[in-house]
Symmetry: C2
Subunit: 251 residues, 2 copies
């Protein structure tokens, strides 16, 4: 079993100089009224399990208080639309969204009951991931909390500060200036100096959720090719017989 | 009544040099299984009704045979996510999608029964639009077919050819080379020379749907501002007392 061709295609596209910085995709979700929503999110990397490299995951993040978390918990089906303008590639990834909140979050029970197939496989294998070093927990399972903290540590100080806003994203506030009273930067763990820094770091970490996408259908359109090309990859089978079926389709 | 502030904001953002060419957004829809989908679409312009400039519409297009048309007909709620990387502005537009198919399309009855408020207002006023000249039909109503043909005429020949593919977008085909046997360019009306050109033009036009989005909630995030700004615009009221409520919210 090896890394699927669609992931190689995404990484190849990301390596095209004209696609520099194109690490964002739009994530579509459905709310409880069956109304769709979409917003831009940053891809924070991939998880490629050693024992199941054919089932890679994509990592993003959210404030636990954001509406998209509620939406993903009530309907975990999402579609990522990754448009790489430079090479004119569009990747659409139909996926199951897994929310990884802080261990003591009230969301933890819900998220545990909803976890997807790859997540479970990774849990049970309890192994390190190929790309990014050891995350084996003391219980022999994959250490999601360690990974969540690493992703959090990888953020810029200004971004990290966004998770210690005193109100949830989208809440009414009185003026554009109000956020200037909120923490503007939260340093990395090793650069925390004051008690306030440490308090802000903890607050931000407590509002920080990792979002892990497990794709099961990919639609790749290559508008940079003449004639245009379009390929679908569909996950078939279950457990260790999972494989990807590839089909050329009309662009 | 005047053009809403959110439309001015979109047009201002589009005019920023670093946003050159950023005329695409991702359109999120929901299918009959309540699974979300998102794909990149090109914005083909705005319609600003003279008697109701506060209710502007956005124009895009689709192949009538595309799955998104089925999705928009079964659930007309969509969200457009318009990320303008240059200025770091994100506009999310919750909207009602209106499909404008060819007049003789089997979809016509469905689409007519689903049309939104602005569309009806424009129909009844039967007036020209502010930006783009007279489209008053002989029956005193807005001439949607005329507009559909104009948008079609505005396409590049290679794009226009995509609508005369012999199979629907997404249908399985045998090889990447197969589309090279299909028409590669369909000229503008005045440049049609051969019978084949004329046939292809008619085929493409018969598969071409205009998609008109009627926004009712806009979420504008300005990541280029420090502190970041976020503003919501919500359509309130009905008929000629419709207005936009503006609220500053936490970014």
């Amino acid at each position: 079993m090896s890394v699927p061709r669609w992931l190689k295609a995404i990484k190849d596209a990301l390596a095209v100089p004209d696609n520099k910085g194109k690490v964002v995709y739009q994530v579509a979700t459905v709310d409880s009224q069956n109304v769709p929503h979409a917003r831009t999110q940053v891809n924070r990397g991939f998880i490629i399990p050693k024992s199941s490299p054919h089932l890679p995951l994509l990592v993003s993040s959210s404030d636990v208080r954001a509406p998209k978390v509620v939406q993903m918990l009530s309907n975990s089906a999402v579609e990522l639309c990754w448009w790489m303008e430079g090479s004119q590639d569009q990747f659409r990834l139909l996926a199951k969204a897994n929310i990884i909140p802080p261990p003591d979050s009230r969301l933890k029970t819900i998220t545990s009951s909803l976890q997807g197939f790859s997540i479970t496989a990774l849990d049970e294998a309890g192994e390190e991931s190929e790309d990014e070093g050891d995350r084996l927990g003391t219980d022999g399972k994959y250490d999601w909390e360690k990974k969540r903290r690493e992703v959090f540590e990888g953020m810029k100080p200004a971004m990290r500060a966004s998770w210690c806003a005193p109100v949830a994203p989208g809440s009414p506030i009185s003026s554009y200036d109000e956020p200037s009273k909120w923490p503007r930067e939260v340093p990395n763990l090793e650069d925390l100096k004051t008690d306030e820094d440490r308090k802000n770091y903890e607050t931000a970490l407590s509002n920080f959720a990792m979002v892990v996408f497990e794709p099961f259908k990919i639609d790749w359109v290559q508008l940079g090719e003449q004639p245009n090309r379009r390929t679908e990859f569909i996950r078939k089978g279950s457990a260790d017989v999972v494989h990807w079926e590839e089909q050329i389709v009309a662009p």
